[in-house]
Every structure is written in structure tokens, then in C-alpha cells.
């Protein structure tokens, strides 16, 4: 009962928001489908670190940045279509394995404070990333595509048009049902990633994740290399975030080179929690349900705010409150329960 409380609250808010926004149900449904394929994989990338006892991985933005490196590279070499997509992944995924490994090393040194450290890691990585594209391109790295450069010759433009990749996989197998366009291929792709995450969680590695999350000491005694397992969790999470951001960017069709990845962590975390996950337990279905609920609320709240208070800004503030507030609420409730339980065990 209690477990379903958070999704239920989000569902009620969604329905109320839809009612007051006076948007058509088919419009809202279409938007939710778009958001589902756009943000689904990004949210799924958070499941594994939670299962491994590392909490919400705000450092997933690093994976997003890896994807953006690939995207910029593909635009730079002007490789379009499926070949471009392959290039993006060929650049992004190895990069996210490397950065995921580095993040894992950091995480093993900040045990107990993984979440705050992951936020700061995201900030540090953002600075490094911005430095590379702002000063590296045109000086150390020779650009091949003048169109994406700033007029001073150094630094990539803020906005890059991703026309060669726009909706490249989204438009496959589109089915129209009652005015709602269903991109069947993409929905299946997101579900396939979800299945993959589920399989990982139910494999030998998944059992190790749970053992490590349960008790690092016990896991070590049963012969599990705790640090290595945690690093694997971070690598998988970063790779999924990279894949998710590629899907996200090709759906949007434009890339805000320096800022597109910011906030992807907060939205993904809030989605996961909206689906009923906690910072100690997360399942694949939490991620899938959460994306629908959280983004459903996200779509309707500005218009609902406009209609209820004749002020669209209030809807905006409500949106950011829901995102930050869901995370704050989950942290406070989950940590408190954990503390009470551990105090109970100690006695």
C-alpha cells in the first residue's frame, strides 16, 4: 500500500493537471509517448546504481556528455544517417566506459557520500567538457566543419543543428491510433533496454549488486570484490546514460552543446522516484512507470497553472518544485527510515 503511495499521488496530480490544463487527452497522450521514448533510457540508467547500493547517480550527466562528444564529432565529420549514428555510439560508448570507470574509482573513495559526490563529479566534468569544446576545438583539435564553429574560429557554437540525425530512428514503424502517433520501433527499443537492465539485475552480476548493497562486509566475506562490482555498476550506468542522451538528442533535433546535459540528472532521478523507487531499491518497472507519470505532470502543469492562476510562471515553478521536491522528499523519508532501522538493529 505504502509502496504505491508516491505513484498514486503523481497519478492524481497528473489527472488534475490534465483536467485543468484543458488539453485534449490525445494531445497529452501523444506528448507522453514522445517523452517516454525521449527520456526512458536516461531514467533506466539510474536503476543499476541504486540496486548496487550507491543511491541516485547524479553523475549520469557524464554519460550524457559522452553522447554529446559523439554527436559533435559526427557533425564535425559530417557523417549523417545510420553511419553517423554508428559513429556517435562508437565514440560515446567507449568514452563512457572510461569515464564510468573513473567515476567508480571516485565513488569507492567516498562510501556513504556517493550521492553528493556524484553531483559534484557532474559539475567538475561539465567544466572539463565545456573547456574542451570552448577552447580545444580550433586550437588543439582541428575542426572539419566550419559551420559549427564560432566566428572567432575557436570554440563550438552554442546550438548545433542535428538535422542529419533528427528523428532518424523515431520515424520507423510509426502507427497512428486514434490521432496518437505511436513510434513502435522506439517504444520497443526502450522496452528492449529495460529488458536488458532487468536481465543484468537478475544475472550473477545483479546478485552481486544486491549483495554489495545489503552489506559490503558480508559481500567481501563471501568472496565478492566489492569495489570492482561498484565500478561495474557505474560503468553500466554511464553507458546507458550515453545511449539515452543519443536518443534524446536525435529526438529533439538540436543540440545545445554546452547545456543540453544539465538537469538530465534531476529529471531522471525525479522520474525514477515518481515511479515508486526509493534510494535503496529501484526496479525496472519503477523507471518505466515513473517516466510516464513525471513527464505527464511536466507536460500539463504550465497550462494548468495558466488556467488556474492566470500565471503560466506558477506552473513552471510547480514543475521545478515537483522535480526537486520529489528528490528531497524521497531522501528525507528513505534516510530517516534507514537510520531508524539501523538504530533498531544496534540495540
Amino acid at each position: 500500500m505504502r509502496r504505491n503511495l508516491v505513484p498514486a499521488v503523481f497519478l492524481v496530480l497528473c489527472l488534475l493537471g490534465t483536467y485543468y490544463s484543458r488539453m485534449g487527452a490525445s494531445f497529452v497522450a501523444g506528448e507522453i509517448v514522445t517523452r517516454f521514448i525521449r527520456d526512458g533510457v536516461l531514467t533506466l540508467s539510474l536503476v543499476i546504481p541504486v540496486a548496487a547500493g550507491m543511491g541516485l547517480n547524479f553523475a549520469m550527466v557524464v554519460g550524457s556528455m559522452c553522447a554529446q562528444c559523439g554527436l559533435v564529432m559526427a557533425v564535425d565529420y559530417q557523417v549523417s544517417g545510420p553511419a553517423g549514428l554508428a559513429l556517435i555510439l562508437a565514440v560515446g560508448l567507449p568514452l563512457s566506459i572510461l569515464t564510468g570507470w573513473l567515476i567508480g574509482l571516485c565513488m569507492n573513495r567516498v562510501k556513504g557520500k556517493e550521492m553528493i559526490a556524484s553531483i559534484i563529479i557532474g559539475f567538475v566534468a561539465t567544466s572539463v567538457y565545456q573547456l574542451v569544446f570552448m577552447t580545444g576545438y580550433g586550437t588543439v583539435i582541428t575542426p572539419h566543419n566550419r559551420d559549427m564553429m564560432l566566428s572567432r574560429g575557436v570554440g563550438v557554437r552554442n546550438m548545433i543543428d542535428l538535422a542529419p540525425f533528427r528523428n532518424i530512428v523515431d520515424r520507423l514503424w510509426v502507427v497512428d491510433i486514434c490521432g496518437v502517433e505511436l513510434p513502435v520501433f522506439m517504444i520497443l527499443a526502450v522496452l528492449a533496454v529495460a529488458c536488458a537492465v532487468w536481465l543484468v539485475l537478475h544475472s550473477r552480476l545483479g546478485r552481486h549488486f544486491r549483495a554489495v548493497a545489503e552489506s559490503g562486509r558480508k559481500a567481501r566475506l563471501s568472496g565478492i570484490d566489492v569495489d570492482a562490482v561498484r565500478i561495474k555498476a557505474m560503468i553500466l550506468s554511464t553507458m546507458l546514460a550515453c545511449l539515452g542522451q543519443v536518443i534524446y538528442a536525435q529526438n529533439i533535433g538540436m543540440l545545445n552543446v554546452y547545456t543540453a546535459h544539465l538537469n538530465s540528472d534531476v529529471f531522471a532521478c525525479a522520474s525514477l522516484l515518481a515511479g515508486g523507487a526509493t534510494i535503496y531499491t529501484a526496479k525496472v518497472r519503477h523507471a518505466l512507470l515513473g517516466v510516464l507519470l513525471f513527464h505527464g505532470l511536466f507536460i500539463v502543469s504550465p497550462q494548468a497553472g495558466q488556467n488556474l492562476f492566470s500565471n503560466a510562471a506558477l506552473g513552471e515553478y510547480f514543475r521545478s518544485f515537483v522535480a526537486y521536491g520529489a528528490i528531497a522528499f524521497a531522501l528525507i523519508m528513505n534516510i530517516r527510515r534507514e537510520n531508524l532501522e539501523s538504530a533498531g538493529r544496534g540495540r
Binding site: 573513495r109 567516498v110 553528493i116 518544485f321
Partner: protein, 351 residues
Amino acid sequence: MRFDARGLRLDAHIPQLFIIAFLVLLAGAALRLDSPVGLMLGDSLVRLGMNGVLALSLVPMLNVGAGLNFGLPVAISAGLLGMCLAVNCRLRGLPGFFAAIFFACVAGVVLGWLYGRILNRVKGREEIAAAFVGFSFISIMNFFWATAPFSNPAMLWPIGGKGMRPAIGLRGYFAGVLNSLGSFTLFGVTVPTGLLVFFGLLCLGVYLFFRTSLGRAMIATGESEPFARMAGIRVERMRLLGVILSTVIGAVGICVYAQSYGFIELYDAPLMMAFPAASAVLAGGCLGGRALVRHVVLGTYLFQTTYVLSGPVANGLMVPEAAEIIRMLVSNGIILYALIYEGTRRRKHAA
């Protein structure tokens, strides 16, 4: 128990060495660009007083064991509320400024009490919870600012007359009242006497507070809760007091900041303000131990001087944004280093 970890160790001073190296680099570049040295020295003093109080507000929470106060936006909102009340009553000059501080303190006590109650529930993981309490509190305050029943038209949107402006000019109210109080110019360096004296008094107050028996009880709580409890200290109460104190000082801090800056900045402006304050305290040398007032003063001065210098240096660079990006990198790098440093120490203790 304590001295083994607190001896002079190089790795505890790496953030400091790093920021000094960065500062020397910037200073060298600024000198080569013939930047006005006197003006920049004066600027660095202003920035010390302006941001010092915000950094100082982290000390009580650090000492009581509640970690770096990433929920600083809560304190800042209290201060903003105080200032808005003062401006709404059209209070001007020094009396207006002190009225703002009074209102800010009242709001700070109330919000600090609520905030402290929350932080007592998330013991051991205060930092992450505080960060998101801060973020979500900003969006709650955004609601408030958009609908608040303030009446001074100087604060409201010019069209429609409803909702607060994102930036409220303080000229004619209390802009620069502390900065100009008794300021003088020596060798081309303008010293903001009032600002520095005010900051100095607050520092002295915090220093003296931690010498009182109450302050010592707080420090004991931060060092080891089980021992403090055995010594008859009411741990929860001490932590609550520490958080309230931090919130009140933070609320005063934003008043000092705003009077120097000349604007009250509402809405999302305070969202990320906790992070530079945290890295200032850490850059001052507060790593794996108690936070001292001298850490705040030294750290803020070093940290803020990088701001002052990076401006003129940026203009001389081919890529002006680079100076700011590198400064952010240093700032957050310091926090990350501190987390890793303390984690490694915990790990060694556990082993």
C-alpha cells in the same frame, strides 16, 4: 585520538596550494595586461567582506557535525525576505539595513528551526538531503515571490504591478551603506572599512561563541555523538541550534552581499550559491577537522581574489569564457577533493 589525524600533512593542504597556484597564474597574467593593481586590491577587499559572511555561516553546521551546508538557499531566502520587508516599509540608509538584518534574523530562526528538524532526521547524509531541500525551497520561494502581497512599486513588475521583479535595485534604500561607511583611499586602494569591520565583528562573535560552554558542547557533538551523549549533552538540541545559527548567519550574509552588490536578486539567483561558499571554506584549510574562523577569512580571500583577477584576464584571452570555466573547475574540484580526502580517511580508520 585526535592529534594523529590533525598533524600538518601535505595532502590536507592540496586545495590551498592549488588555489594559490591558480591565483599566482592569474596575477601574473593580470600584471602582464597592465591591469590597475590598486583597483583590484580594493575590489578583492570588497569581495572578501561581501562573501565572507556567507562562508562564515557554514562554520556552526560544520562544527556540530552536520556537514557542508549545501542547503544555504534556505538561509538566503530568509535574508531576502528580511530585505524585502525593509524595502517594502521604505526604510533607508543604515537603519534600513539593520531593520533588514533584524527581519532576516527572525525569518532565519524560524526557517532554521524547520530546516534543523529536517536535518536531524537524515543524520549521516545531511549534505545530499540539504542540497535538495535547498533546491526545492527555492521553487517554493519562487511561488511566494510571484504572488507575495508586497506593495512598494519599486519591487514589483512595472507592468501589471503583480509579483516581484527578479532584481530589485537598492539605490535609495541601503545600497553600499556598509561599504561606504568610513571608507578611505590609501595608495589608490579603496578600503571598505564599514564592511570589513562588520565582517570582522561577526567573525569575532563566532570565534568567541565557540569558546563558550555552549559552543564547546556543539564541537563535542560534532566530534563524536556517542561521547557527547555520555557527557550529558543533548545531541539533537545542539545540532538544531547549530543549524539555526548557520541559517541566521547565512541570512545576514545575503543582506551584506546584497547591500554591496546593490541589488536584491530573487527567484533562481541563489540556487547555486552554496557551492562557492563551501569551496571557500575548504580552500581556507578546513579539511577533516574543525572549521575555524581563520579558514573562512583566508579561504574567502583567496577564492574571491580569483574572481577579481579572472575578469581582466578573461578580456585578454582569445577565449574569454575560459577564465570563468577554469574558475568553476577549481571551485568544484576543491569540493570533490575534500569529499575524496575525507572518504579515504574514513576508510583508513575503518580498516
